[in-house]
Symmetry: C2
Subunit: 531 residues, 2 copies
């Protein structure tokens, strides 16, 4: 399909037969408010970033909860803490006069672990401002990080500056901006802030039945992940799931001198690399039988949506310093419609200055499999195990004892680490999806980038499926934010545009669900597909 035809089709999808929102203010009004309030907004963000938020750090998690509850209250929510078996949820309700529907906004306040020695600043939880991207020579700007004005290319560096505290701040700012411009959200706004997203959101999922009345809604808006690299406003309709496993192959019971026994005692690192190499070919095709089962060719509308995403793949390759992609010829959008198999870590004995001439006693690979809606976690795990067995390995769940060692060569321990999360996907053609796209289109005079499946994971697929309502993602942070790595950062221009995007989304007249948010919500484990 030619690009011009694509644009026509997407324009039709966005604009035809949708009721117009009555209360959307012009972009200029929202932007003027943001321009006048940048300093206060960033001060609020910086204060939040100063509270460390690694999910396992209980005392600081409690400080985050208190700060967030107070913040929601300041911005007009009736806020409360919802206790769970793990880190609490922070919850807020904003009732809009005359609104019949309810939108539940999801974000998370916990962040990935940090390795401070790899950061180019003393403390990942003390934000600093740079006049550009660190890797491009961005220099630290002396003085406070909250300023009366910002250049769009300035960046705030701190853990969770992008993932995922700035969206919470942006939501509050968008509500303030709507109010200041005499507008209001089209629906009641409920917000739930998750404290264990980076650990798989176990407590949110477990809390569904306990808090079903509070969490029920007509649509869910997910604030997580980055906007499209073009920087354009972006909406997403799905996200890949994840399954993380660790594989440990066992060699001799203790490290053995590689001279005395090399060639004779099996080397667990060689066995591990052979096993891993059996899983994916040189062209990036996963060789685990059944890995792609259930995937079907995309519909023409879906193909058009993927093709319309303005990916600058040449620029990405240059930015990342790679000459070729893993599967030559496969576009980035095509790639993330499929499950992926990623080695995220390898370890065996030592490398570098600490290396010793031994046959290691074990070798470990940490793996993540990104799932799509058609490849649920449980089935994928079984396929992986079956493949490993077929390679001649004996699977165990814990370190082998002497009897197991005597009975089996090629022993591999497989453990599922950090939980499993299925993918989710809402139809881009669902009315709520179309209203949100239309609202952003009106605000910016251009359709947002529409992402059928986001590559990353928001671990709330079971939650979405239990709710039985459409779920649309509205990311607002820069794509090159070093999310999950060191030197995570937030590009200021992208952030401020994101506030405008959220203001638009809040004005979308989301259709009230047939049993509008109050119907009994299925417990964890039952699945009610969004389509």
């Amino acid at each position: 399909m030619r690009p011009r035809h694509l644009l026509v089709l997407l324009g039709l999808l966005a604009a035809v037969a949708l009721p117009r929102a009555q209360s959307q203010p012009p972009r200029s009004g929202i932007d003027a408010w943001i321009g006048a309030h940048q300093q206060a907004v960033v001060r609020e963000l910086a204060d939040l970033l100063m509270i460390p938020n690694v999910a396992a750090d209980g005392p600081n998690i409690a400080r985050n909860v208190d700060a967030l509850r107070a913040m929601l209250t300041r911005h007009g929510f009736k806020a409360e803490t919802l206790e769970t078996a793990g880190n609490p949820l922070v919850y807020g309700e904003m009732t809009v006069p005359g609104a019949t529907g309810t939108v539940l906004v999801y974000a998370h306040y916990d962040g990935q672990p940090v390795d401070p020695k790899n950061w180019k600043q003393p403390n990942p939880f003390v934000p600093i401002l740079r006049d550009g991207r660190l890797e491009d020579g961005g220099r630290e700007l002396p003085g406070p990080v909250d300023r009366a004005r910002y250049e769009p290319d300035w960046r705030l560096y701190a853990r969770s500056s992008s993932d995922d505290k700035s969206p919470i701040i942006a939501l509050c700012a968008a509500l303030d901006a709507l109010k200041a411009t005499g507008s209001a959200p089209a629906s009641n706004v409920h917000v739930v802030l998750d404290g264990e997203e980076e650990a798989g959101s176990p407590s949110l999922i477990a809390a569904i039945s306990r808090y079903r009345q509070k969490l029920a809604a007509d649509a869910i808006v997910i604030l997580d992940g980055p906007v499209h690299p073009s920087g354009r406003p972006t909406v997403t309709f799905g996200a890949r799931g994840i399954l993380t496993v660790e594989l440990t192959v066992f060699g001799p019971k203790f490290g053995l001198h590689s001279g005395h026994y090399g060639n004779w005692v099996p080397n667990p690192a060689f066995e591990l690399v052979r096993l891993l190499a059996s899983m994916k070919d040189e062209r990036g095709h996963v060789l685990v039988p059944g890995f792609y089962d259930g995937l079907e060719p995309l519909a023409p509308e879906e193909k058009a949506m993927l093709a319309a995403v303005p990916d600058d793949e040449a620029a990405l390759k240059k930015l990342f310093g790679i000459a070729e992609v893993e599967q030559p010829g496969l576009s980035l959008q095509d790639a993330v419609q499929r499950p992926s198999l990623n080695i995220r870590g390898l370890s065996s004995a030592y490398v570098g200055a600490s290396a010793r001439t031994i046959i290691p006693d074990r070798a470990t690979a940490a793996i993540d499999i990104r799932l799509v809606k058609e490849t649920p976690s449980a089935a994928m795990l079984e396929r992986l195990k079956a493949h490993i067995s077929r390679q001649g390995f004996f699977l165990v769940e814990r370190d082998p004892d002497d009897a197991t060692r005597a009975a089996h060569s090629r022993i591999v321990k497989l453990t599922v680490e950090g939980g499993e999360t299925n993918a989710y996907r809402t139809s881009p053609l669902a009315p709520a999806s179309r209203q949100i796209v239309a609202a952003v289109t009106r605000m910016f005079g251009q359709a947002p980038v529409q992402i059928r499946t986001m590559g990353g994971t928001v671990p709330i697929a079971p939650f979405i499926e239990s709710m039985g309502v459409p779920a649309v993602g509205v990311p607002i942070v820069n794509f090159d934010n070093n999310q999950h790595g060191e030197n995570e950062n937030l590009r200021m221009g992208t952030f401020f545009t994101g506030i405008t995007t959220l203001a638009a989304v809040l004005t979308a007249p989301v259709p009230v669900a047939p049993t509008p948010g109050k119907r009994p919500v299925a417990g964890h484990g039952e699945s009610q597909r969004t389509r």
Copy 2:
């Protein structure tokens, strides 16, 4: 060949047509002296082990040098320090009245690095005594480690307790024992103690020409490595060499979110495991073309020697906790006659609790290749590089710049780490070899275990080749000493028997070389093969 025939052949090799040593005392005399002096001998060893000896630890290396020079002097040597570009050599000369030949005894005083948290004692440099092997439940014996008597199964735990400080102590004790029993070495005894063996002995090799007169000899006796697992006295005629390389495959310039880019950005860990998997098959056969070039079928005498080694392979497999060896059907002795390819370490991003969901920016493998005399290091390195290139990788010597990244997929950095050491092998049929075997046979009433090639490396092959004289290894420590790993230890019974073995070796009438030790010694780089 049947075992009985083997014994006849080996007996012939050991006993026929050799002059009898005149001055060898009976075993009972040597053993009585050892029994009466165990405490002093072990105290001397413990004092030496208390001085940390990692080669890079200059101040403690200096303390070792001072202690060793004083010790050699105490035991009758004219001792001195030979300065080098790196750690000094400790050198001693003992002139024996009437002796015409000279034996140079080599040992090393440096040890492998330690990782104290993995040791079952507070400090690897503070020896402790156990009533058995740690892994078999051996308990620490309270009180001082120097005792009036020891059970043979007791073990002294400390770094370098086996590798390689105890042989130095044993040499001094053997000389004392000979003297006390009215005997004397058959040759003048020169000793050189290397301070950089675990780093490849660069300074010893470089010092050959500087100290050629002091180092010249008619034969070399190497004190390093373990006795045969049977515990029987052992002599060795060669050792494998080593080539250590590190391979780093580069992915994106920084770790990338595995969700957003998994399937699209190449994963360096997958590229590394595929590269490594291409190097060795499931049956342990190395697939690098030319890896085994130059190896020829063994002569019947050599096959007999290998077959006569009393390896208890079933016991080794049980001890190590392995069900099968790497190359099914290959004996341990056969295995170490060949070069080996060992992954000694793997590293990429993180595993375990620190694992993060990223595509790593790089993945590294530390490799060692054990060499045999027919496979010199330089040729092996070229073969490895050629293989890597044939797998489609672009070889670099340092981290790639942007232009290199843009021009090439599959970039791998290859560096040679820790120097290279060729193998050496002296003919077991050389007169010096036969005299030493005969002397040990007389002392114990049984031929020693004879090892054509020791699996481990003593990095003095260039030294031996430059000297142009036979070199025979006489290991004296237990095989299960955890050499190079944590909880290195010395079995006391094996150690004391080793003193007796050395006393026998010192009485072997080693033939005087045609130009007895005084001929100009070739400089480093020239090669004069022993056969």
